[in-house]
């Protein structure tokens, strides 16, 4: 019999073997009365608890999840719970963007002797879940489609970059060509209104290099595949942050990479450009003035103002000049950073939890699991060994449900926690325009709040926050179980 009236709910508990499992045992031996909703899974250490365990439980029918480990400084493995604390706190702040009430998840510390505390924690947490009631399910939420407001103001005037020192850049690249395996940049794509990555190996290749608002791809994505070889890369400011993050994580070696940079004036949101152009057969001309790109397609001129049609990330961009460069051309541009909420995240911020669940249900339905988002991400370095494809461990099925698809997005977002520089390539790559960047942005915001404004990809010597811990965390506080 449950001590709480009414139906039992499904609560999953991950308890560390050394402390909390013992604590639960102590409570049991003492015959302390406890609610029976909790299903306990014993794990070696709270540090073993992958935040995805919790998401997976919550997506698949759990109404609440409780993680409990040894008290800080008391971990059987010294530091497992220190790492856990950071991860689990980030997870807690991430849940609401998915439409999940963060009160459905708690983590705490209970030692083997604290039978009474265990009884108290379980009773309190179970009561909290009962107050919340059964968790709403993604698959039951009425699909909702809403569009982010892109009427944004940039931190500085955006432009077309047509006065950039492209010739000087080409000269610098030509001078370095003999030393490098290749230099990655951009060239014209299928027409003058699209660019694609360029791999420069000969002086003729360097002639093809272009610079301007069509340079949307992030060339840093290719760097890890050249590991061990000397390679150059031309970067916009945002791309340089990916290079730095790769360096922070030792995924590339500093001495192998030569970074060429020009200050960036913004790049176009090609989705909106393509939409405005509609179906055309030929681009007749692309012309520029300081603030506009004028594309003439099949005889019709379309004007795109950089202030209106830039990529979402460009409006809040505080690093238009590379944060790290070996060959810096042009005059660096200083921008005072400011906490702007990116448009995708602002859209979700304005929704209730229920609406968010509906939103993700509606959005993920059209995902084809093509994984363009994953593969376009410069920080997704597992590449051929992603757990989304693995049968053992068996994280995902091949089912085409919105739930499985959203689960993959949470895998990506959580694996990028404290690492995502916000380059937005995942979202840009998505052929069906799912605003998946919002999930990464929410984590980035949580990480910045928890770890003193930390932003990934600014300093090569920074340790990503989820790879470290403080014995006493400044911004993470022990939950009060009263």
């Amino acid at each position: 019999m449950s001590v709480l009236d009414g139906k039992e709910l499904r609560i999953v508990g991950f308890l560390c073997n050394w402390c909390s499992y013992g604590g639960a045992d102590t409570a049991g031996v003492a015959r302390a009365t406890q609610p029976t909703d909790l299903r306990i899974i014993r794990v070696p250490c709270s540090g073993r608890v992958d935040p995805l365990f919790i998401i997976k439980a919550l997506f698949n029918g759990a109404d609440g999840v409780l993680v409990s480990g040894c008290h800080p400084r008391d971990c059987h493995y010294s530091s497992g719970n220190f790492y856990a604390r950071r991860r689990l706190e980030v997870l807690k702040q991430f849940l609401p963007v998915l439409g999940i009430d963060d009160r459905r998840f708690a983590y705490t510390w209970v030692s083997a002797s604290e039978g009474q505390r265990w009884q108290h924690v379980v009773t309190q947490f179970t009561k909290q879940i009962h107050d919340l009631g059964p968790a709403p399910r993604l698959e039951d939420a009425e699909p909702l489609l809403k569009v982010a407001d892109m009427a944004l103001t940039a931190l500085r005037p955006l432009g077309t970059g047509q006065h950039a020192a492209l010739d000087a850049l080409k000269a610098a690249i030509r001078a370095k060509l003999p030393e490098l395996e290749c230099i990655i940049g951009w060239q014209q794509g299928r027409d003058a209104a699209h660019t694609v990555p360029l791999f420069m190996r000969t002086p003729e290749d360097v002639d093809k290099l272009v610079w301007g608002p069509f340079n949307v791809c992030n060339p840093a994505v290719y760097l890890p595949s050249f590991k061990g070889k000397k390679v150059g890369v031309v970067v916009k400011g945002c791309d340089s942050r990916s290079v730095v993050e790769l360096l922070q994580e030792n995924l590339i070696a500093r001495e192998d990479v030569t970074v060429f940079s020009l200050p960036c004036e913004g790049t176009l949101d090609m989705a909106r450009v393509d939409q405005e152009l509609g179906r055309y057969t030929t681009i007749d001309n692309v012309a520029y003035d300081a603030a506009h790109v004028i594309i003439t397609a099949d005889g019709v001129a379309h004007s795109f103002c950089m202030a209106d049609c830039a990529q979402g990330k460009c409006y809040g961009c505080a690093t238009p000049s590379a944060v790290l460069a070996d060959e810096r051309l042009g005059t660096p541009v200083e921008v005072t950073p400011s906490d702007v909420t990116p448009p995708e995240l602002a859209l979700l911020d304005a929704m209730t939890l229920k609406e968010r669940l509906s939103f993700w249900h509606g959005q993920m339905q059209r995902c084809l699991r093509c994984y363009a988002c994953r593969n376009a991400c410069p920080m997704c370095v597992c590449r051929d060994y992603c757990i989304s494809d693995s049968r053992d461990p068996h994280w995902m099925t091949q089912e085409a449900s919105a739930k499985e698809k959203l689960f993959f997005q949470t895998i990506h977002a959580l694996h990028l926690a404290g690492r995502c520089t916000g380059c937005g390539e995942c979202q840009r790559a998505c052929p069906v325009g799912i605003p998946i960047l919002a999930l990464r942005q929410q984590i980035a915001r949580a990480v910045a709040q928890l770890f003193d404004g930390y932003k990934p990809g600014l300093h090569p010597e920074d340790v990503p926050p989820l790879l470290g811990y403080e014995v006493v965390e400044q911004n993470i506080h022990e939950r009060d179980w009263k």
Binding site: V221, D269, P431, G433
Partner: protein, 362 residues
């Protein structure tokens, strides 16, 4: 003589209502609002908004769903004899009568491509067949080509009837519908639409205009031989694949790609039983060919790209006499790095021509 009918734009909803009769599922292009808008096929229900734009995602799922249950099974313990279990198994295809409405000729030709391996080879796929037999395809001919599509390179065109049961063409005051197959004819005859014979010349005119909007197509007759000749030239493939990210967008958005993987989920004793699933797979992924031993015959992306291009432009034509690409251009427009299959095919053809030339000179 085919049956010709006419419908005004205002009459389309009533026509869709008719199509949805008798339990038919009607898949219509639906716009998904987002900063990057997309168009996908979804079941129609009365009053639901739809669009006639070319869809971002072709309606391939009508015959080959992203994921389908091939069979499900359940084991139940016998109450009297706990050692004995009763096994029940259901392998009936999940097929419902379906109409695809307003796909484009390249999508419809996709069905014609898929029919070959699934229906015309030594082994007929019962799941595909069940869906295909219940499928009626109503195609909207294209008013013009576009920068990424190239149907006329591959044997099709903006008004190609291949794979369609009914071909629909937009004219000034509405749409002319022309039956292509007996199935289409039967459906059109029952639809209660106005006769369109008088307007047919206008439709033919519109179709001619669409053809005229296309740039001349290169001759791809030598493509299979030329691509086959490039097979061992890894520098060639490496060069053209360099920017590929090895995702699956090009294949998953393709109306003619049909590779799949089979996985098992659940188990007989579990409350929901066991299921064998078939889901799309992509030759662009290294996992596609990784063997149990760990050995992978297509270790690098250039080998995988070689497979994709060769399959579409060399081996499939060798086996089936047609390209397994309808030129819809989705792989180009949806590739995050703008990889263009046309460039690769043309480069191979040119290389083939050059080597032919060299041989003749020797």
């Amino acid at each position: 003589m085919s049956t010709i009918r006419f419908v005004t734009p205002d009459g389309l909803s009533a026509f869709l209502d008719f199509l949805a009769q008798n339990g038919r599922r009607v898949l219509v292009p639906v716009e998904k609002p987002a900063v990057k808008r997309s168009v996908v096929f979804e079941p129609w229900s009365a009053g639901r908004p739809f669009t006639l734009e070319k869809a971002t995602v072709p309606a391939k799922a009508a015959v080959l769903p992203q994921c389908e249950t091939l069979l499900s099974y359940k084991k139940t313990k016998n109450a009297d004899d706990p050692a004995a279990v009763t096994l029940t198994l259901d392998d009936a295809p999940e097929a419902v009568p379906t109409v695809v409405f307003a796909c484009r000729p390249c999508d419809a030709r996709g069905y014609a491509v898929l029919d070959r391996p699934f229906l015309q080879g030594p082994y007929v796929d019962p799941y595909y067949r069940a869906r295909r037999e219940l499928l009626t395809v109503i195609t909207l001919s294209c008013a013009r080509g576009c920068d990424t599509c190239f149907c006329h390179w591959t044997g099709g065109g903006p008004s190609s009837p291949e794979g369609s049961d009914i071909l629909m063409t937009e004219i000034d005051d509405g749409y002319v519908l022309q039956s292509i197959t007996p199935k289409g004819e039967e459906l059109l005859a029952a639809a209660g639409l106005a006769d369109g014979t008088e307007r047919f010349p206008a439709a033919e005119n519109a179709r001619k205009k669409a053809w005229a909007s296309l740039a001349p197509a290169p001759n791809l007759k030598m493509a299979p031989a030329s691509i086959a000749a490039c097979f061992t030239d890894m520098d060639f493939w490496q060069h053209w694949t360099e920017r590929c990210l090895s995702c699956g967008a090009c294949t998953f958005f393709c109306p003619t790609c049909y590779c799949f993987t089979i996985t098992d989920e659940g188990e007989g004793m579990s409350p929901s039983g066991g299921r064998r699933l078939r889901s799309w797979d992509t030759c662009m992924s290294p996992l596609f060919t990784r063997e149990a031993s760990g050995h992978n015959p297509r270790m690098v992306k250039a080998q995988r790209m070689r497979n994709r291009v060769s399959h579409k432009y060399a081996t499939f034509p060798e086996n089936w006499g047609a390209f397994s690409c309808s030129g819809c251009g989705r792989c180009i427009g949806n590739c995050p790095v703008g990889l263009d299959i046309r460039e690769i095919v043309l480069a191979a053809v040119q290389r083939g021509a050059e080597s032919m030339h060299e041989k003749q000179e020797q």
